[in-house]
């Protein structure tokens, strides 16, 4: 039996190695070995093996007491995270839109302000911004924890959103503006019916990844003692030392949330598509 990948076969009868079945088998074996290795590393950490304890984990997610279901600490944290993320998303959207428009404005002062804000926001770590807004501006302006977190997240992700909006609007091209003008359309109608629908297609994918980024960034708000998902995770671990189990669960919850967000956005994307 001549192997189908034998290089001596004429080219029309020969299957390149990388498209043959034997290659697939090799790939599967490699993946199996890799996962076996990872499993081995996790399970058998030498003398001091990590004592896995999954039994005490479910009570932190959801518990059934007195005949009704009650959200555990982690789900409560998730509620806070979703609350902060939702409000911050709206905030970032507004901040981004305003900044993008300011950047395109004719007034140099407006452009300068917008650029200054963008540079500061994008070049300082989010954690620093959270601490600054809460511990420094907070007492002065009387901002409470929740709004300090929302403000920081909105400003930080708003800067990136602004650039996304701006590139989306600029990608529409001057031709559209000119055509609309020549047809006698008012600026409002131009924006609403011509520019925004076209820009939206370009804006949605990066905006989707930005909103996923925002959900993950919200994990930092625990630094100002907000009981969000990550902070609840830390609190449970401080009490029980179930490090691996809790962090795996928290990670899985974040993945679930961002997956739902991702799917929602791709559904919206398919609706605004041209064809």
């Amino acid at each position: 039996m001549i192997p189908p990948t034998c290089p001596l076969l004429p080219p029309e009868k020969r299957i390149p190695f990388f498209r043959s079945a034997r290659f697939d088998i090799l790939l599967y074996i490699t993946v199996l070995l890799l996962s076996g290795l990872v499993f081995h590393l996790l399970m058998d950490s030498g003398e001091a093996q990590y004592p896995w304890d999954w039994e005490t984990v479910p009570q932190y997610i959801i518990s059934h007491t007195d005949g009704h279901w009650q959200a555990g600490l982690l789900l409560q944290g998730l509620g806070v995270t979703l609350q902060i993320a939702a409000v911050s998303l709206a905030g970032a959207f507004c901040v981004g839109l305003v900044t993008a428009l300011l950047r395109r404005s004719d007034a140099p002062a407006a452009r300068f302000l917008a650029t200054l804000y963008l540079e500061v926001s994008r070049n300082t770590p989010l954690l620093i911004q959270i601490f600054f807004i809460y511990f420094v501006l907070g007492p002065v302006l009387g901002i409470n924890r929740f709004w300090a977190a929302v403000l920081s997240l909105s400003c930080f992700d708003g800067a990136y959103a602004a650039e996304i909006f701006r590139s989306g609007i600029e990608s529409v091209g001057r031709g559209q503006f000119e055509a609309a003008k020549s047809l006698g359309l008012s600026p409002w109608i131009t924006w609403r019916k011509v520019i925004i629908p076209l820009a939206l297609r370009k804006i949605l994918p990066p905006l989707a990844s930005q909103s996923i980024s925002l959900v993950k960034d919200s994990a930092l708000v625990g630094a100002i003692a907000i009981f969000d998902l990550t902070q609840q995770g830390k609190m449970i671990i401080a009490d029980t030392y179930l490090t691996f189990e809790i962090w795996l669960v928290v990670g899985a919850i974040y993945v679930a949330v961002t997956a739902v967000l991702s799917i929602t956005v791709s559904m919206i994307e398919s609706r605004v598509r041209l064809q």
Partner: protein, 269 residues
Amino acid sequence: MKLQKAVTALLLVTLTLIAGTSFAAEEKGKLINTIQKRGVLRVGMDIFKPWAMKDSTGELVGFEIDVARKLGSDMGVKVEFMPTAWDGIIPALLTRRFDVVIGGMGITEKRQRKVDFTTPYDNGGQAIVANKKKAEGMNTLEAFNTPGVEIAVKLGTTAADAAKKTFPKATLRYFDTEPAAYQELRNGKVAAVVSQAPKPAFEAIDYSDILFTPVAGTFTKEPIGMALRKGDTTSLAFFNNWIKTNDQWLKERHHYWFETRDWVTDELR
């Protein structure tokens, strides 16, 4: 072409991992032997004034630093400090990041289940400091045990446990670092901070215009020990012996760091 590259990369990763784990030096046997062979004692701690602090040049100083340095020199090895976030310090010990925790760690039943403690070499207690405006008129422990009262603590400490036990009706706000908790108190966002003495008293003195001590002294008492991974009785016996031998020296050091303020400078307080 792309697939070929991907597969080659994958195979290389597998080979590296296999090679890596087979070379990973598994430190079996008694801890003290490993330390002697290595020539370095790795100590896990976190910044807790005055147990361990950084002075203006970035050097670590404090009661626990002195203890660890003497222990290292008595063993004839160098000491390497690994500052670790307190709420992750026991997991870090269990995953062999360092050999021992010498950082003012209170011996508790909860911790005893995961690590082995030496005999106590010091005693600590929790104290409370409050904000004059937010905690006006509150002069007893009971006053703070009311719903709506917010108390800031550091995550993972016996202070947090003590606060939960003593003030179950209050809301606890957990911070990663003590300075953040104290900043919160000074900003008037929480009524009080619970942390290990003598820090609360020092804070009340330093900020006497906005803070005060509602209840003097400590309201809990807890022994402090060094934490080791479970199962190594030989090494545990060694450390216990060292503690017993150096009892006088430990008492003297405790007096210097906790009962005097001789070490306080403008940068270090």
